[in-house]
Symmetry: C2
């Protein structure tokens, strides 16, 4: 028995999120279908993170056991890509130890959120950006983001109630203007609550338009009350960009 | 009665080409549906060019008459966008003279063709580029392209037989490497035969891989025989980028 970790990119547009669900097209579902075709038996997978409907993956990490001991990591990559639909692509496969857990061994998770900040929409970017035509003050958003760095109770920035503790650590938030009209939020942390990145971006954008002051971000955080939170940023701008492990390079 | 010309962008992925066809989702069909909702009656449209299934538009020009004399061009633009699906966007609307024909008054048509020239595919660009992982010699492709500039009988570069004359004029072909891994073919001419741009790109790519010499392009052209032609480039890399008129700025 071998254990593999696959680094997986996917276009979330046509998926009902990452996690397997009955009668829904999910990313994990099509990966397990591909593994079934390769192994002629069911193969279960674990992943570094779940992503919601419409959210994309570039560096999702998915681990599974394989009875096909003769297959190298490289051959497994090719076999998976031969059996996956056009909107999922396995970028790398690594052989890992028997106990490897993408969820618990992840050292750091990096999400990217892209805003298209132009007066007119761009059709060709609509699936991968949030089109936001109003002016955004990057410096103000950076000031607001500073209050979120470190270990905090992020209860106010969660959606749903499935997490036992709402204490999380954000190690950095970088906000960059790329090519003049695209704004990238690069949010790095150890782990995240459900919708936490989209909720953070939603709040920071209100700071960027000056409908909230940067200090309000601190008040929202301290309130631990999500009813205080401005609305969430839409899913299509978000990508699970990279998950860092000690075991291998992603 | 007013006459308008709309500059239209569309993502060709989910359309069965531009031209109206019964029981198919076409770009012209959804534009005429939007015009029907606005006018409460059928409105027919003329366009500068047809595009095949999967081909995109950025600067397609569509003209129509409107009985809504009170609507300004700007209001017509907003009304159209309010009634169009997410994959079609009207970038501009101009009021034009009664006799304006986007097909016959077009002075110049510019197509862009994008190749993604990377060892690994990129999911997020798959709808808008041709992924071609092999090395391409840009200089050789430019040498091959030179034989196509000017007025020629392009019978060898057509697909189908619906054109009376196969003589066309190409005014320029520029081949540029953008951001290292994207190659842009910018093909400018007065008008084009069916699939002509994709057939040209298909041939030039074979020159780029050195499976054909640049001079073979000249021999193919002179043969006037499309059975001599290498296969066509796939549709998703092609965009009808701009159509130039004397009447207005596109």
């Amino acid at each position: 028995m071998k254990r593999f970790a696959a680094v997986v990119a996917y276009d979330g547009t046509d998926f009902f999120g990452f996690q397997v669900q009955p009668n829904q097209r999910t990313v994990q579902g099509v990966i397990e279908d591909a593994l079934f075709k390769i192994h002629k038996q069911e193969v279960r997978t674990d992943a570094a993170g779940r992503t919601d409907t419409g959210v994309h993956g570039y560096g999702q990490v998915v681990a599974f056991n394989s009875s096909l001991d003769r297959l190298s990591a490289e051959t497994m990559k090719d076999a998976l890509n031969a059996n996956l639909p056009a909107d999922v692509y396995v970028r790398k496969v690594h052989e890992v130890g028997k106990d490897f857990s993408p969820r618990f061994h992840a050292k750091r998770r990096i999400y990217h959120y892209y805003i298209l900040n132009t007066p007119e929409p761009d059709l060709f970017k609509r699936r991968y950006t949030w089109w936001f035509p109003y002016q955004l003050d990057i410096e103000k958003m950076r000031q607001g983001a500073k209050f979120l760095i470190g270990e905090h109770d992020f209860a106010a920035f969660r959606t749903g109630k499935d997490d036992r503790t709402t204490i999380r650590t954000i190690t950095s938030i970088r906000i960059l203007r790329l090519k003049k009209d695209v704004i990238l939020f690069r949010v790095e942390g150890i782990s995240f609550l459900r919708r936490m990145v989209r909720n953070i971006v939603g709040a920071l954008v209100r700071v960027g338009t000056e409908s909230l002051s940067p200090e309000t971000v601190k008040l929202i955080l301290e309130s631990k009350d999500r009813s205080k939170l401005p609305s969430s940023a839409p899913p299509q701008g978000l990508v699970l960009y990279k998950v860092l492990f000690n075991e291998f390079e992603t």
